[in-house]
């Protein structure tokens, strides 16, 4: 077996962005959110992903702005560290090692140098007991510091991080668990606790779900499981506390947030309606309905101009204070289960699977970006727990991507099943799919499997359903009306001994259709609708079915529930080979003969890639992941790799993505590919983060013109120098201003770099040296003044800039530095 190290399983894109509340930078330009073990920085204006803060080794569980420096952010992670980042440039400043898994982080302006963290109690991990601890951060210049100074604040902490909040200016901290609200006063070092009855009169559930404290007033707002919001006042005196109740949400309040001025309270729940309550004005409220999935977190920017809501459908919505949605950051939507297959849209090469309820999502894997949602159900989604709604359960593209067939279904639990088969045509003008035909009663029972014919000329759809029939659907003219109609109608109904079909598949040239009925595979000719032959290999019901491609097109592969992988030769109608392996997913590569089979054995999944004609697998990867794999897809590469290594050859033209039961999207990547990815991503990040300023436009235009000139005259010889030049400019522009030397130092250098170097005139080197010596003497005093700046320069990136300049430029620079400093110094000195 070939166990190679250069192919490895990587987690690719689409991790959750809605785990923790997103935070908005104080200038409202960036939104930060956690995404797996990264912290992602998005632009609020363009919704574009700018860069990510990479460094944690496990799930990031909390982020918060550093109250001392608004350009820095703390993040905590399950790996037991808190990291301090400069989020604008993505630089890791410091790492504090705490040593135990952290679940949430809170800071307060009043407590500088102290972090409040949720840690799980080490004693009994099974009981999930959480503790709120404060950690004093040691002041040290080192990059990695161990923070040992911990003191427990309370152990009555809910698992839910939104059940803890700092009160007015950090004077107290409020936290709730189950039916108890605790307020800890830092000055008095005392905890007051207030509790509610388990059930109210009407059997309402009173448990706390979230908490928010008013920024300037002594008021705590709490959300409850029954949808009530309580405003607690006067809790400083333990006995005389009061609360008022407001009720709008019909289900649990997921999150509460006060605006920074404290004039409004924002709340959200499963209804996906953002409610804005006017503080102190009783019941007056505003609504922003239909935001998407249920609202999980709300956060407000420090100037109160922007709100951010994160939703259960892996989405962050940026909302202006005037209640207008101005941006949506959408991640890969992963519901409880992906019911459709993973598919590739042949046009956009995007991954297609069901996303929001009743929608299909198109997700670009290359850019890790959500492209768009296609509304399949076209019905108002009711946000109510336990309601049986239409879900897209099947979808298929034809080979050119001009038709899309979907099946939506409702009534899994109840007896009356409703489903629709819909056919969508691609509209060139709007560049999206448009509903063409809706078939209401395509079958009398649930559709099991669906596939398009693979020929380019005629498109045909075959559906197999539990009513023991399969039907072929064609698009064509109706003879009676003599109109060239464009919609689909049933062409053929087939069955086999009243057995329930389990799967159907077209051969690569669509000259054959294989439909499996329980244990029997029937082969049909789609032209005449004759049944050509039947194949059978008992025992076991056929589960997966696929034809070989290209040189292996004479083979038909099938897997059975009794752990058998069979291969039939269609020319001889005999079993070619069979092997005992529990295949959970069989996926043929559309661009080669290869077939990938995922098998689940003894609690881990193995992958085999093989050709139907060869007995030996091309590639084997044991223990790909620990869950079962039910969905997989081959994604064509934009440019094929040309690796000759036998074990990586199968990844040359396409890439295999698969989805585990835990909804992780994984893929295989080779070493060469990773290198390329790394370099390209760096390039990308730099390009994206440049703000479009007049200055940039000027420079960018200049650069483009240069490039054009170069390509016209002699592209090869000039290229390296050109790129070098651009790198220097880039570095110059992208180094943060506070680490650069003063602009006055750089100015002359910069201006000179634009001058055409006078290479034609050769100076006498001896004379030059003498000159320089003389100047050195002259400018000794001045040099001292500049010393501090020089030091800075040594650390900063200017150091990196200079070596990259060409020799002529360097000499020029040197000369310039020597000559110009005298008068420059005069200027600088005269100014202050």
């Amino acid at each position: 077996m070939v166990e190679t190290s250069d192919i490895r399983v990587v987690r690719c894109g689409g991790s959750k962005v809605n785990l923790t509340p997103p935070i908005i930078s104080s200038d409202s330009r960036f939104v930060l959110c956690t995404s797996g073990d990264l912290v992602k920085v998005y632009s609020t204006r363009t919704e574009e992903w700018l860069h990510s803060l990479q460094g944690h080794t496990n799930q990031v569980t909390g982020i918060t702005l550093n109250p001392a420096n608004h350009l820095q952010v703390y993040s905590c992670s399950v790996d037991g560290t808190v990291k301090l980042w400069d989020f604008i440039d993505g630089i890791l400043i410091k790492t504090f090692v705490i040593g135990c898994p952290l679940f949430a982080i809170y800071v307060s302006e009043k407590h500088t140098g102290v972090l409040f963290l949720h840690v799980s109690m080490a004693t009994d991990s099974k009981n999930e007991c959480f503790q709120l601890v404060s950690v004093h951060l040691p002041k040290s210049a080192e990059q990695e510091v161990e923070a040992k100074e911990m003191s427990a604040v309370s152990s009555h902490i809910s698992k839910n991080p939104s059940c803890t909040a700092f009160g007015r200016g950090g004077e107290y901290i409020a936290f709730a668990r189950h039916l108890q609200l605790n307020v800890y006063f830092f000055r008095k070092q005392k905890t007051y606790s207030f509790s509610l009855k388990a059930t109210d009169k009407k059997g309402a559930k009173n448990a706390f779900t979230c908490i928010a404290c008013h920024p300037t007033d002594d008021c705590i707002a709490t959300g409850h499981e029954d949808g009530k919001i309580r405003l607690w006042r006067n809790f400083i005196h333990k006995k005389e506390y009061t609360y008022s109740t407001q009720h709008w949400h019909h289900n649990a309040v997921n999150t509460l947030c006060f605006t920074p001025e404290g004039t409004h309270l924002l709340s959200g729940g499963i209804e996906s309606v953002l409610v804005q309550w006017q503080y102190g004005a009783g019941n007056r409220k505003e609504f922003l309905p239909r935001l998407g999935g249920s609202i999980l977190h709300i956060s407000a920017s420090s100037d109160g101009q922007l709100f951010c809501t994160s939703h259960s459908d892996n989405k962050i919505t940026v909302i202006e204070s005037s209640f207008k949605v101005c941006g949506v950051i959408q991640g890969l939507v992963k519901g409880d289960a992906v019911l459709t297959d993973l598919m590739i849209d042949p046009r956009s090469k995007a991954l297609v699977l069901n996303g929001k309820p009743g929608h299909l999502q198109f997700y670009s894997l290359l850019r890790d970006k959500h492209l768009y949602n296609l509304d399949i159900v076209q019905q108002e989604y009711i946000y109510e727990a336990g309601l049986d709604q239409f879900e897209v359960v099947k979808a298929a593209f034809d080979i050119k991507g001009s038709w899309l067939a979907t099946v939506e279904e409702r009534g899994k639990k109840s007896s009356d099943l409703e489903f629709f088969l819909k056919l969508w045509a691609f509209d060139e003008r709007t560049q999206s799919f448009v509903l063409n035909t809706t078939i209401t009663a395509a079958h009398t029972d649930r559709i099991i499997s669906m596939c398009f014919s693979s020929s380019e000329e005629t498109t045909m759809l075959v559906t197999a359903a539990e009513d023991s029939q399969f039907k072929a659907w064609c698009q064509g003219a109706d003879a009676d009306t003599q109109q060239d109609q464009n919609f689909w109608s049933c062409d053929f109904v087939g069955s086999y001994h009243k057995l329930n079909p389990t799967n159907c598949s077209f051969s690569a040239d669509s000259s054959l259709l294989a439909v499996s009925f329980q244990e029997v595979i029937t082969i049909w000719s789609p032209d005449t609708w004759e049944m050509l032959t039947t194949l059978c290999q008992p025992p076991g019901v056929i589960r997966d079915l696929c034809f070989g491609r290209l040189s292996c097109s004479k083979y038909l592969l099938g897997t059975t529930t009794k752990n058998l992988l069979c291969c039939w030769n269609l020319l001889t109608c005999e079993l070619e080979w069979s092997t005992s392996v529990d295949v959970s997913k069989l996926q043929p590569d559309p661009f080669s003969e290869n077939v990938a089979a995922f098998s689940y054995q003894s609690k881990h999944t193995d992958l085999f890639v093989f050709k139907p004609s060869e007995p030996r697998p091309l590639f084997t990867n044991k223990n790909v992941c620990s869950e079962k794999v039910h969905r997989a897809v081959f994604v064509p590469r934009e440019e094929p790799l040309n690796s000759c290594d036998e074990s990586t050859q199968w990844l040359n033209r396409s890439q295999l993505y698969f989805l585990t039961q835990n909804m992780d999207l994984l893929t295989f990547s080779t070493a060469t590919e990773e290198d390329r990815m790394l370099s390209s991503s760096k390039q990308l990040v730099i390009d994206d983060s440049v703000a479009v300023t007049p200055f940039y436009l000027l420079l960018g235009k200049h650069r483009q013109q240069q490039q054009k000139l170069n390509t016209q005259s002699h592209p090869v010889s000039d290229k390296p120098q050109q790129t070098q030049g651009s790198v220097t400019i880039k570095e110059l522009l992208h180094t943060p201003a506070h680490v650069l030397p003063a602009a006055s130092v750089l100015c002359s250098m910069f201006v000179n770099s634009f001058l055409i170097s006078n290479t034609g005139v050769q100076q006498d080197p001896l004379r030059e040296e003498m000159d320089s010596e003389k100047e050195e003497e002259d400018s000794e005093e001045e040099m001292e003044a500049c010393d501090s700046q020089q030091e800075l320069r040594a650390q900063g990136s200017v150091d990196e800039v200079t070596p990259k300049l060409s020799k002529a430029q360097e000499r020029e620079l040197k000369r310039v530095r020597k000559t110009d400093f005298s008068w420059m110094a005069g200027l600088i000195d005269s100014k202050p």
Partner: protein, 528 residues
């Protein structure tokens, strides 16, 4: 933020009805104008001249109507006995008619008194017609003869007895003044040439011939009799081209439309059928009595049908102009200016643009659904106009409520009046295959909800009784249909053993399901 998605109303086509151009053409008639005559209308003839007045022979009178008049503009009443077969001359100035006593009268269209009387027939004359030269009249009589008369001198030119039974059909050739076709109750159709003085062609229709008709080209001949309509090719020596059997009673009349020469036949079974050029029935007019006569005006402006109960039913063609005037009169909204106000304003360069959100217009029930007022939404959908003219909208709202899981809430807490509305709707549509599924659920829920209080209202109880009857009848019908399908299945299986797969259509299954659900509900009703 996504906007509210309105309820989707599914427009399901009615089964077995396909919209073709022919149906659209023939549907484009206004509802018929009924004119009461004194007796059965036996003959209608349109004047070939411009105003296209038409002569209607009924009882002892012949009335001449204008195309759009409902009152006769002229009537000839000087018959002592029943008049028959009033027909115009080619110039529309003279009219000839036979009568029960055997007299044939010739009228000037502007006069009252007969210009000529042709006497000679010993029995009733049912058919009379001008030959195409306009100077001769041919008549067929129950005395087995037909005679040709000279108009100026009022003398009989010839009398031929070839038929052996009553002559009831006559069609003169328009191209040749010496040719005419007769049909008789002796089951034959004969073509006569006056130059030879005898029949030149004889065709066996097989049933008493009620009507004969020549195509304008005069290559094809139509004869009707019994339940059959037969088309003969005269150029091939009277070979039978097609035999049509679309009526289930005697076909009494046939005529050709002037646009496209479509054949229309009327029958005692109260239907007028329209055929296309390949003799398939493309449209069907229903009348309320057996049809005796029929005529189509030039340009198909009017279809006039005469019936045994003495009613003349006249259908006028709809014109686009009429429709426009109708709709423009109905619409009384704000003027165009209101809508375009400010639409074409171009902002100046330094203007700050504040866009107004586009308002989404929703139906009333959608508005109520949006604010979760389920009972009100159902009430809106059950309003009389919606309920009667757009039942699919009502059903769509019911489906939407069911999807939201609030159908029970919407149906609960109703008084007798609104419950009656729902039950009426159920009664009308529950057996419609398009709506039956959601409506059966409604029926179930209504029964569950009001089981205890149903007995308090006699109205509701009566309606439930009716519902049970309807459902029982429907279940029986489905049962019978299933049996028929079973018979058909065996038939087809024995005929085409190889194609057996093809014939396992989905109909039996769906019917079966439907049947089962119908019977379950009817069982529920029974229990109550």
């Amino acid at each position: 933020m996504a906007s509210f998605k309105p309820t989707k109303v599914q427009f399901l086509p009615k089964l077995g009805e396909k919209v073709t151009e022919d149906t659209l053409y023939w549907k484009n008639y206004k509802s018929p104008v009924q004119i009461k005559e004194f007796g059965a209308v036996t003959k209608i003839d349109f004047s070939p001249l411009a105003p296209h007045n038409y002569a209607v022979t009924a009882s002892t009178r012949i009335h001449v109507y204008g195309l759009h008049s409902q009152e006769p503009i002229r009537s000839f009443t000087r018959f002592r006995d029943t008049a028959y077969g009033g027909s115009f001359r080619g110039d529309g100035k003279l009219l000839v008619a036979g009568s029960e006593e055997g007299l044939i009268r010739l009228f000037d269209i502007s006069g009252r008194v007969a210009l000529r009387q042709f006497t000679g027939h010993s029995k009733a004359v049912h058919v009379t017609s001008f030959l195409s030269d306009g100077f001769r009249v041919v008549s067929g009589s129950d005395d087995l003869t037909f005679r040709v008369w000279d108009v100026p001198s009022a003398v009989e030119l010839s009398s031929i007895t070839e038929h052996t039974d009553y002559i009831r059909a006559l069609a003169p050739s328009k191209l040749n003044p010496d040719l005419f076709v007769t049909g008789s109750y002796d089951h034959t159709v004969k073509v006569f040439d006056m130059r030879s003085g005898s029949s030149v062609m004889t065709m066996q229709h097989g049933h008493p011939v009620e009507c004969v008709l020549l195509y304008p080209s005069e290559a094809l001949l139509v004869s009707t009799g019994g339940r059959y309509v037969k088309i003969w090719d005269l150029l091939k020596g009277g070979q039978e081209l097609v035999s049509l059997k679309n009526h289930h009673k005697t076909v009494t009349c046939a005529c050709l439309s002037s646009v496209g020469n479509k054949l229309l036949t009327g029958s005692l079974d109260r239907h007028v059928k329209v055929y296309n050029s390949s003799y398939k029935v493309v449209h069907n007019f229903d009348c309320d009595a057996s049809i005796l006569s029929m005529a189509v005006a030039p340009d198909d402006e009017v279809v006039a049908v005469g019936m045994t109960n003495g009613v003349l039913s006249v259908r006028h063609r709809k014109h686009k102009k009429d429709k426009e005037t109708l709709t423009s009169r109905r619409r009384r909204g704000p003027s165009y200016r209101v809508f375009v106000k400010g639409k074409n304003f171009v902002p100046r360069q330094d203007d700050f643009l504040v866009s107004k959100p586009v308002k989404q217009y929703l139906r009333k029930y959608d508005k109520q659904l949006k604010s979760f007022e389920v009972s009100k939404a159902l009430d809106t959908a059950l309003q009389t106009w919606t309920r009667t003219s757009k039942p699919e909208v009502t059903v769509a709202v019911i489906i939407e409520l069911n999807r939201r899981g609030t159908l029970k809430n919407a149906l609960a807490g109703r008084n007798e009046e609104s419950l009656t509305k729902i039950l009426n709707f159920l009664l009308k549509h529950i057996f419609d295959p398009r709506f039956s599924r959601p409506l059966l659920t409604v029926g179930d829920i209504v029964l569950d909800l009001y089981r205890q209080v149903l007995h308090q209202s006699p109205v509701v109880e009566r309606q439930l009784q009716r519902l049970m009857e309807v459902l029982g009848r429907e279940a029986e019908l489905q049962q019978e249909l299933l049996q028929v399908l079973g018979i058909l299945d065996t038939l087809f299986a024995s005929l085409t053993p190889r194609k057996e797969v093809l014939w396992e259509e989905h109909c039996p299954m769906s019917l079966n399901n439907h049947c089962v659900s119908v019977s379950s509900v009817s069982a529920d009703v029974c229990r109550i």
